[in-house]
Symmetry: C2
Subunit: 472 residues, 2 copies
């Protein structure tokens, strides 16, 4: 990917600036258009190779108001955090440009250089593979990612260190590395070569060509805004609808036994969820009135209200629509929150958005893999993902809808939308069947619970949570 | 404000729950209506008085999905942070309910109890006064705030500590205080009495009445959603338009001298801005094409792109409109960011929103004081607020608009809106005059800069920054 000498030519600076500004505004105007995109620029490199200077020069050529720059000290990876968690918030919205000095690669390098027990190479390579998969997901979701490494030879680095004004030394401590140490320098070079084959590598030797190469790459990226492909002709075999979804069992439970059992289980679940060594994310999906709210209420019964967070997911906001589909969920899961419960979730992409046509064929078909990767990242960061599909049959739903309409404090739960969704019952059933087939993974299995009998269902939910937490 | 014994009666629990849920949904449905509001519940109190339990009981009575709870360990105030900064993000949107265990009062108590040199009483009372003013601003902006103190006598506290299950001791360490120490207990009581006269004080002695008092207060608050008053007949004397706004000087500067001076000043400004002991917020307002972008470019010229953040302010998003007007700005100023520049700002409320009628009379008239308080909070947290009004005359604007239309890389800067805004030139001028008169404060003065001559204007901006930073 690195520019060949022959391809690169210095441009007239005035001209370059004009083209950059035009491209910036064109990008800005793609927002919500069929070719909408944003640009995320990951910048890393050898100290004093001039990455700061190149970005500074870029910011002088462009309209600086529409180029955001984010720089943070590198984060040493910890077990409870995915590599994207601290950056997700800053993923640019359609039309925006973001330069990230601190990014998941600089964190990876720092982690590899700093931890007392160095990362072994397999783990390092696993990280790189996951990062690339994440970037591919970003690209598919209209965030163009370019990665630029500013390189500098050992000799030039030493020369620049000799010449450095001590008052400007501030930024050069960013990586906390000793750049006078040849072994460390070689180590950085060796490590970065394990990921830089899809990076643009710019030699920091010559200032002018460095800044221009950088700016010209950005310019090319800004200008390239093809329309997104929305439809695919790929054959999509329908998953068979599991029996349980068609006729959810309706066993009756004894009232007194239920209360007793519920009390015992709620206490056990609270204790299990509280465990400090891992986080838990619990997802509820299911037809309207399947009992999601009731089940959640029983899970949290014995928890302190300070111990958990419930997210009720509705249609995305406009500012969320300008970001990758999973973006709003990336930001709702935080390492500090031990117990996070979703009343509806990211599965909206392959359920309501698919059925109602809010997502294109390409988008919802792609989402299964995106979701699996997302949940796998959570799993790998000490988070147990527990997923429930609450199954109800169509008659029972009608009974509950009517009960809602007739009960004072339930009346607010029912809207004309709910009745309308019933008309697409079969479509939702097929969407659920596909979802269950394609996202039932080892690290995040689905639990299908028959809910025609509410009490039975609640006990089952609690039992399943215990079971999955214990298995973990 | 505390409930008299005679007023309070236990309700049937089922009935209370139904009413709470109905009130929740009614509140939810106020969003974007003339009586829209959200409810923020600040909860503090003596350990073991049962605030956790009361919130837990409340969450069992209500629909738990629409009651968010936030709990953080208290923050000891530091000089660079306003008291609201870490909570602003969590101010509920219209229709939402938020319980905050950790809040500015618990921080204040912790600060007063923990700092090596205790807060003197004047400072403590100043904080309380500022907090109340902030809460009043929240209320005016549709966030109803209720504050509830859970109290417990020394004797009962000691008894509960004796009976406490050690495995549940976790939450009781929250304030890091020794509740066996009578002196500390008395100190907390003495301090909280300095702010609790507008709090609801609930005695934690009896569990049932404690939980019901709490829930009934919330119920009453949820039910009380009067329509907002939008118009006022108050006489509003117009400020005279300053001479400088009518005929911005047009002195010519020598080109070579300008370049030389600019270079020197940019360097000086960069050094002054970099100072580590305080943050700087720079605000630019002015008619379209007055040169805001150009001035900003010169300010950041000698800064590293990692050292500053530029916010370009456009119309608020829908989710921002459901919060207090200043909310999006509260969240854009963070203590970690040393230099923050606003290309347009919170003054939009009294400029474009006033002129175009996006804000009601009551709203924009109220905004002057809200803004002054906001800037004063920043000033008190080691942040220098530097404000520029770039003055241009109408003819010069026309010249620049035409130049923009004719220059390739400037064409994107001009839209039909810009020409339309010209028609309301006089209105904007009067709005600016009022703004300058009412928000030119000692801690955040306005600098009006004549910009018919761009070069002259840029030098003046840089000089003014230096001057205000030095004066500080």
């Amino acid at each position: 990917m690195s520019l060949k000498e022959t391809e690169f030519q210095l441009m007239d600076e005035e001209q370059l600036s004009v083209e950059l500004i035009e491209a910036q505004y064109q990008l800005k105007n793609t927002s919500q258009q069929p070719n909408a995109k944003s640009v995320l620029i990951l910048v890393s490199g050898i100290e004093l190779a001039g990455k700061g200077e190149a970005v500074k020069q870029l910011r002088e050529w462009v309209d600086p108001r529409y180029l955001r720059v984010k720089a943070d000290a590198p984060i040493i990876f910890n077990q409870k955090q995915t590599f994207w968690q601290s950056y997700a918030r800053f993923i640019p919205a359609e039309g925006q440009i973001m330069v990230m000095f601190g990014n998941w690669y600089s964190d990876l390098l720092s982690t590899a250089m700093h931890v007392s027990k160095p990362l072994d190479e397999t783990l390092f390579d696993d990280y790189v593979e996951n990062m690339r998969a994440y970037e591919q997901d970003l690209k598919n979701n209209h965030v163009d990612v370019i990665k630029i490494w500013f390189d500098l030879s050992w000799k030039s680095l030493q020369k620049r260190l000799d010449e450095m004004d001590p008052s400007e030394a501030h930024w050069h401590k960013l990586h906390g590395l000793d750049w006078r140490n040849k072994k460390q320098y070689d180590n950085v070079q060796r490590l970065r070569q394990r990921f830089s084959n899809d990076w643009i590598v710019i030699d920091g030797e010559d200032e002018q060509s460095r800044d221009q190469q950088f700016a010209q790459h950005i310019l090319r990226t800004l200008k390239h805004c093809p329309e997104h492909i929305l439809n695919t002709k790929e054959h999509w075999p329908q998953a068979p609808v599991p029996e349980l979804l068609l006729s959810p069992a309706t066993e009756m439970a004894d009232e007194a036994a239920y209360k007793n059992e519920l009390k015992k289980l709620s206490q056990k679940v609270a204790e299990a969820l509280r465990c400090a060594t891992r986080n838990v994310v619990i997802v509820f999906e299911g037809m309207d009135a399947a009992g999601k709210g009731g089940a959640i209420k029983r899970i949290v019964k014995k928890l302190d209200p300070r111990e958990y967070e419930i997210h009720t997911i509705a249609a995305p906001e406009k500012y969320e629509l300008r970001r990758p589909y999973l973006w709003r969920f990336w930001n709702k899961i935080v390492p500090e929150e031990r117990i996070t419960i979703f009343d509806r979730s990211w599965y909206g992409r392959v359920l309501v958005e698919r059925v109602e046509g809010f997502a294109s064929t390409v988008e919802w078909q792609r989402a299964y893999d995106e979701i699996n990767r997302f949940e796998s990242d959570l799993y790998n960061s000490q988070t147990v993902v527990i997923k429930f599909w609450l199954a109800i049959d169509k008659d029972e739903q009608a009974v509950r809808f009517k009960a809602r309409e007739e009960t004072a404090h339930k009346r607010f739960k029912i809207t004309p939308d709910d009745w309308r969704n019933r008309d697409r019952w079969e479509d939702y059933l097929h969407a659920a069947a596909d979802m269950l087939q394609r996202t039932d993974t080892e690290h995040a299995p689905w639990h299908v619970i028959a809910t025609n009998n509410k009490h039975q269902a609640r006990l089952q939910v609690l039992n399943m949570i215990l079971k999955q937490l214990k298995a973990d």
